[in-house]
């Protein structure tokens, strides 16, 4: 599992991606958010959306087998 971070989250975390061995009890995207939030509180912001393997989630989605969880803050506009 590779959490990735974009926009201001990239600077807040200090990296665009981190490698984490996610504990077995973390089953869905929102549990993952809460777990990472202990180290990186910026991801707890409800406006931060999560995409699992390039698919945006709108509710807790299973993370079993997912390679990338992208944390996307509100957009800046083009």
């Amino acid at each position: 599992m590779r959490p990735t971070f974009f926009g201001r989250l990239r600077d807040a975390v200090g990296a665009g991606a981190i490698d984490r061995a996610v504990p077995a009890n973390i089953a869905d995207s929102e549990a993952l958010r809460a777990w990472l939030g202990a180290d990186f509180p910026d991801v707890l912001d409800a406006k931060v959306r999560i995409a699992l393997d390039d698919v945006l989630t709108t509710r807790p989605a299973p993370i079993a087998g997912v390679a990338e969880a992208a944390f996307l803050p509100p957009v800046s506009g083009g």
């Binding site: 926009g7 201001r8 600077d11 992208a70 803050p73 509100p74 957009v75 800046s76 506009g77 083009g78």
Partner: protein, 149 residues
């Protein structure tokens, strides 16, 4: 057609190529956005993007515009990475039989890009850097199109 570019873009060359590619159209409208220097306060913008989602969202905006306004062709090129103040950051064009559809398609694509494209901007101001989010006005501009969608 749409693309993301990490290299500088040349709006005049893009418009020229688009014009040649859409022979038979009666009207072409285009828009070029430049990085504002905010009276000298901003020296550079850095645009972060997602390697998959950003390109997909921009392609969807282009396709939505093409269908909605029944224009013959549209083109979006958006910069990512470091863009100096005064440099082009986005180029948008539409070709149609008559001018109104081309104007509207360009206006629509820019409003959608401002609120729906996963792009994140960091301004360099003096020694510091500031992440910026969409303005209220951007969402109001986007909402103009919702009543007739």
């Amino acid at each position: 057609m749409s693309m993301i570019s990490s290299e500088p873009i040349n709006p005049a060359a893009l418009l020229d190529a688009f014009t040649r590619a859409v022979q038979g159209a009666g009207a072409i409208a285009s828009f070029t956005g430049l990085v504002r220097d905010d009276d000298g306060a901003v020296s550079e913008l850095w645009l972060d993007h997602h390697p998959t989602l950003s390109g997909e969202a921009i392609a969807e905006i282009a396709e939505d515009a093409r269908r909605r306004f029944e224009v013959a062709a549209v083109h979006i090129v958006h910069r990512v990475g470091a863009v100096a103040a005064g440099e082009p950051i986005v180029f948008v064009a539409a070709a149609s039989h008559h001018r109104r559809a081309a104007f509207d398609a360009v206006d629509y694509m820019m409003d959608r890009l401002k609120t729906d494209a996963p792009l994140w901007k960091r301004e360099r101001r003096g020694d510091g850097a500031v992440w910026i989010e969409a303005r209220e006005g951007d969402h109001a501009d986007r909402a103009r199109w919702e009543t007739t969608e």
